[in-house]
Amino acid sequence: MTEKAEKLIIRLQEVTRIYKVGVEHIHALDGINLELGENEYVAVMGASGSGKSTLMNVLGCLDRATSGCYELDGQDTTKMSDATLARIRNERIGFVFQSFELLGQLSALKNVEMPLIYSQNGWWSRHMRAKNVLERVGLGDRIKHKPNQLSGGEKQRVAIARALVCNPSILLADEPTGNLDSKTSEGILDLFDQLYREGQTIIIVTHEEHVALHARRTIHMRDGRIYSDLPRDQDPAYNTTMQEDAREEPE
């Protein structure tokens, strides 16, 4: 375990998630223990099927653990109703997806405003908060543009702005650079670095080592379990993967 921050944001205790497929039981998460403090920058890595997406869904309150305990900001989420979980997602969690998930008919501003519709915010406060957060991600001059008038990087920035607009406790990014070229990816990752410096807790799910390199802590998963959990400077995988990356051209 790494050093603990003063305030715990996430605490997972023996969390399992079991899917029933026919008569078979698939252990997508098989006893996860994890603690995450304020202002951490974590990368979750693993091959497909390792359970990292399931972990992401559980952390994001989109899915419930089959057993175990998940505390978010000191509150046990396992016994909460669907409506309460919706509110938690709205107030505490910001999602960034691989394929941006912007609504094509709405402007960047309206897209960013969307989560605020589901919380109690007046028109003006919605407008101002969305505008501010768009400025924060560097899109202050594109607020009226619709997604199809924006580049891939800009779209992802809008999506990040949308995730940040409710001041979430954690920012959950699922392969945020998966649909972007390497130059744009670096821009997005720089933005994550900037947000981290500003105090945001960030969890990035990725299978690309160079993305994980930006994080201060890397969790490797395999078969639904945490296989290694190390701060960046102690991760032995780094140097070798860096060399591997250099040999194998990224797609």
Binding site: L62, A86, F97, P115, I117, Y118
Partner: protein, 420 residues
């Protein structure tokens, strides 16, 4: 209290947002939306047109009846439904003038009374001019009040005219013009059939309720009741006016009772005449109008049902097309109820737009109908019909939008976000 207001405000915001989104969605899928709402449009257009036409007709008829006076009673001979008189000839059951003698003394609810004698249609001549289709009717003075037919020039048929069997007449203005009589034609004489009459007045024409039959012009000439007997054997009936609308039924009963006695109808035998009131006529008309409305309503109900199924179908398509959007909305904190509201409102907005277009088309149809048929003046769809169609369209939207909306609300956000 504050909490309630906050909740209400939140709901209104969600509502506004949903309407905004729904309109956007409808705008992006224009063709689809138009095709979907056609059922609703046709339903609403037809019901509003039918209701508007009926309302116009009803207003017209009521107007007409009011010009008669609502306490008017018509008395005419007719064969009964059963009994030996069932197949009696018209001549046997005809009224005789003396059947009505002293009727006012015996019927306390009757205010006025006038016998009417119809002698058929004649040709009227004045110098070289002639007019066909002149309906000659013998009347008594009370006729003017009962039928609300004042004279615009000259005088009415008087009691003296009747007593002395004078050869005088009232003519209608159209006949005056047709025969090229002077504008002030009082004192001029015209020939009707083989008889000569002196004109004593010009009677106002009745506002006419012409349903189709327009071809030949019809003229009216009124002569004293007793004078008709000089022209031939008149067909007699009678008009009466009760002392008020509320005693009309009593007046009818009194007249029936009186006539049974004067016509020697034995107890148990059916009447050989009818005593009808305008009120009953109105009741019949109203029930027919109601029936037409109900039939139209049924047809419209079916059409709205079909329209509703169309709405449901398109909403299901919309839900499956926007699965990812639903997933995203849920991920950023939309509750089930919010998703439900959004899709429900989309369906309702679609139906309302259909209703709006339908009312517009209905009004156009109504204008076309009133253009073709001169009986109806400019008619408008009554407000209640518009309200009714809208609430109906709205209910259809809620009813048929519910299933797709529930389907959307129950989507699992993880699955929805993975949807291709």
């Amino acid at each position: 209290m504050r909490a309630i207001i906050r909740m209400l405000a939140a709901f209104l915001r969600l509502f506004y947002q949903s309407v905004y989104l729904a309109l956007g969605q409808i705008w992006t899928n224009k063709t689809r939306s138009i095709l979907t709402t056609i059922g609703i449009v046709i339903g609403v257009a037809s019901v509003t047109a039918v209701i508007a036409a009926l309302t116009g007709l009803k207003a017209k008829v009521l107007n007409q009846v009011e010009s008669f006076g609502t306490n008017t009673i018509f008395i005419f001979p007719t064969q009964p439904d059963k009994g030996p008189m069932r197949h009696a000839s018209w001549w046997t059951i005809r009224f005789l003038p003396e059947h009505f003698d002293d009727i006012l003394e015996h019927c306390p609810s009757v205010e006025r009374f006038s016998r009417i004698a119809g002698v058929g249609r004649y040709t009227a001549h004045y110098r070289e001019k002639s007019a066909e289709n002149v309906e000659v009717m013998g009347i008594e003075p009370a006729y003017h009040e009962i039928q609300n037919r004042p004279v615009s020039l000259g005088r009415k048929i008087s009691v003296i005219d009747n007593m002395q069997v004078r050869p005088v007449c009232l003519i209608d203005p159209k006949l005056r013009d047709e025969l090229r009589l002077d504008r002030d034609c009082i004192g001029q004489t015209i020939r009707i059939g083989h008889h000569t009459f002196r004109i004593v007045g010009v009677i106002e024409r009745q506002p006419e309720l012409q349903l189709g039959e327009s071809g030949q012009e019809r003229y009216e000439v009124f002569i004293p009741f007793r004078t008709t007997f000089k022209m031939g054997k008149p067909w007699i009936m009678a008009f009466a006016a009760s002392k008020g609308t509320e005693v009309t039924e009593e007046a009818q009963a009194e007249i029936s009772f009186f006539l049974r006695r004067t016509r020697n109808i034995k107890p148990g035998e059916p009447d050989t005449f009818r005593v009808e009131s305008v009120k009953r006529f109105m009741d019949t008309f109203n029930s027919i109008a109601l029936m037409v409305t109900l039939v139209a309503g049924g047809v419209v109900g079916i059409s709205l049902l079909v329209g509703g199924v169309g709405i449901m179908n398109i909403m299901l398509v919309s839900v499956s097309e926007r699965t990812r959007e639903i997933g995203l909305r849920k991920a950023v904190g939309a509750k089930k109820s919010a998703i439900l509201t959004q899709f429900l409102i989309e369906a309702v907005v679609l139906c309302f737009i259909g209703g709006l277009v339908g009312v517009g088309i209905g009004q156009c149809l109504t204008m076309i109908i009133s253009g073709i048929n001169p009986v109806l003046d400019m008619v408008y769809i009554p407000a209640w019909a518009i309200l009714l169609s809208f609430s109906f369209a709205g209910s259809v939207g809620i009813f048929f939008g519910m299933f797709p909306a529930i389907k959307a609300a129950r989507l699992d956000p993880i699955e929805a976000l993975r949807h291709e």
